[in-house]
């Protein structure tokens, strides 16, 4: 009785409204991407016309390919660096400059992107670096490794340290204990971190705009310049494809974390 009364009608209504608010706009977008009509708002029957249009749009395809390349390479570097940072913060106890280190890792999570983007661009200009694939990759790595560090750190925090200690009591050196015991246990979080870094990079517009050069626009940059000129049905199709790609990534991530966390502890989905 008590349990039922805890979930009031008000609770259910606010949840339902909240989820409808979150999902309806995306759902509408996906449905309209299959619209045959040139007018975005008039329903002209089902059609794959705009997908066809997208696959014939060379500039868009190139931008999409650039985005995927940047996302894959920056997510990989970010996962390496972010995992190292998480290990240092949660297992390294006190070390010189720890406060500065954790400050630098948390700040980019909330810092307005215009500031991060501007500062990196000024660095690249000062270094006289040619802007393009690598500068965007470096910029995205800097941002996303912070997210990886947070995800992995929270997994490390919930881990039973006596497992590592037992491994060392049995004669493992610390590095060996980490590779043989800790690493498999935090693998789901590392996978989740990579996926998060990948989607964040795929999504980023502001930092990419500052750090990219002429001729190497990412997909969000292209979409943004198209959207500013007005609504085009082709954009609906591209957006739906991106949503589908991200959905696949999420499914893989959750499967990976389910498979590798045999002891019932699931990784944080974020």
């Amino acid at each position: 009785m008590r349990k039922v009364s805890r979930l009031s009608r008000f609770n259910i209504a606010s949840l339902a409204l909240g989820l409808a608010f979150l999902y309806l706009p995306i759902l509408i977008l996906v449905i309209y991407s299959f619209n045959a009509s040139r007018l975005v708002t008039v329903w002209g029957g089902w059609s794959l016309r705009w997908y066809h249009e997208f696959f014939n749009d060379r500039a868009m395809i190139e931008a999409a390919w650039m985005s995927v390349r940047v996302a894959a390479s920056s997510a990989t570097i970010a996962t390496l660096l972010g995992t190292l940072a998480a290990v240092a913060l949660s297992r390294g106890e006190r070390f010189r400059g720890r406060t500065l280190f954790s400050g630098m890792l948390y700040a980019p999570l909330v810092m307005p992107e215009v500031i991060t983007g501007l500062s990196l661009l000024l660095l690249f200009v000062a270094l006289n670096a040619e802007r393009g694939f690598w500068t965007v990759t470096i910029a995205h790595t800097t941002l996303t490794m912070c997210f990886v560090a947070v995800v992995v750190q929270s997994r490390l925090g919930s881990l039973d340290r006596s497992l590592e200690e037992a491994a060392m009591d049995l004669g493992c050196n610390p590095v060996r204990a980490f590779v043989a015991v800790t690493l498999p246990l935090i693998a789901p979080a590392i996978v989740a971190g990579w996926m998060l870094a990948f989607t964040l990079s795929l999504d980023d517009l502001v930092i990419a705009s500052f750090t990219t050069g002429p001729g190497s626009a990412t997909l969000p940059i292209r979409i943004y310049s198209e959207v500013r000129l007005g609504v085009k049905p082709e954009i609906n199709a591209i957006c739906t494809l991106v949503i589908a790609l991200i959905a696949v990534v999420i499914v893989i991530a959750s499967l990976a974390s389910k498979l590798s966390s045999s002891q019932g502890e699931s990784a944080a989905p974020l």
Binding site: L15, L17, L29, T41, A88, R91, V110, V114, T141
Partner: protein, 304 residues
């Protein structure tokens, strides 16, 4: 435990690579922003006149410091466009954060009251839109809010309005976009504290005769304050510097500071003024940024 300490030393070495990376690509760039904000504007490539070079030796350095120009900051303070932009950014961020708290709280509260199994499902459902590109989510709203968009079609069909309402390029459209994009950032920390709360406390209060609103106001809300704090900071700080949402959804008559910075940089090519604007924005946000960092640290330490 001595084994724990043995583990600590190699773990500290793990910090070297990410530490060097963050210093190089996060800390040092701010030095450049600061330096360029103190430079004179020039029409050149790169479009600024360096005012000092560290390689030139001490005397050149002191001379350069004497020649540092705070003109860019003076310009920011004296030009109404910038002053308005900062004021507008703060107002928009405050209003949007209040809206987010108002909308997000009942959702988080409903989630925390679900049976445990369903809580996990609800959490995934809230996070999934966050994984979807924010540009796509804003674009979805342009589809709905435009002149002959779905919202106006529905309103017309229901005879609630006699002619299409202008939604796009208004502040309401911008607030819808901001609330929509940042809602998961508000719900998740709120939910985290509400789910941890003992339901016994609320039951005790109502057993003692408190009406529901009093139970909420005197028991639930005060206990959820850490989550409220985290949610508010997590939304407020990035909204102040928001650029894309106001650019796509709001009218062009009054700009936020993120937009002004972007315009100075890309359209006017005035890098020193853009840098100075970034420095001031950072200074405005330093207090909430430090507050957030402290909150985050405390939560991680508690979670250990």
């Amino acid at each position: 435990m001595s084994s724990r300490r043995i583990f600590a030393r190699p773990a500290r070495f793990a910090a070297i690579a990410p530490y060097v990376w963050m210093v190089l690509f996060f800390l040092v760039p701010f030095g450049f922003v600061l330096k360029i904000s103190l430079s004179q504007t020039a029409i050149a490539q790169p479009p600024y006149e360096p005012v000092f070079a560290l390689t030139a030796g001490w005397e050149a350095l002191t001379a350069a410091f004497a020649a540092l120009s705070i003109d860019n900051f003076k310009l920011l303070a004296s030009d109404d466009i910038y002053v308005f932009a900062y004021v507008r950014s703060l107002t928009v961020a405050l209003t949007a954060t209040a809206l987010l708290l108002l909308i997000g709280y009942p959702i988080a509260y409903g989630m925390a009251r679900l049976p445990k199994r369903w809580q996990a499902v609800a959490m995934v459902l809230v996070i999934v839109p966050f994984w979807t590109s924010f540009l796509i989510r804003i674009y979805a709203w342009i589809n709905i809010l435009q002149h002959d968009g779905l919202l106006n079609q529905i309103l017309l069909a229901l005879h609630l309005v006699s002619q299409p309402v202008v939604w796009l390029s208004t502040d309401s459209a911008m607030y819808i976009g901001i609330v929509y994009s940042y809602l998961p950032f508000m719900i998740l920390p709120l939910y985290a504290t509400l789910a941890k709360m003992e339901p016994v406390l609320e039951e005790a209060a109502s057993d003692l005769g408190a009406p529901p609103w009093q139970v909420f106001w005197l028991v639930t809300f005060p206990l959820s304050l850490p989550g409220v704090g985290a949610g508010v900071l997590l939304c407020f700080i990035p909204i102040v510097g928001e650029f894309v949402i106001p650019d796509l959804l709001a009218g062009s008559n009054s700009l936020m500071i993120g937009q002004t910075l972007w315009l100075e940089f890309f359209t006017n090519k005035d890098w020193p003024v853009a840098s100075a604007a970034a420095i001031v924005l950072l200074a405005v946000l330093l207090v909430p940024l430090l507050l957030y960092e402290r909150l985050q640290k405390r939560q991680l330490e508690q979670g250990r």
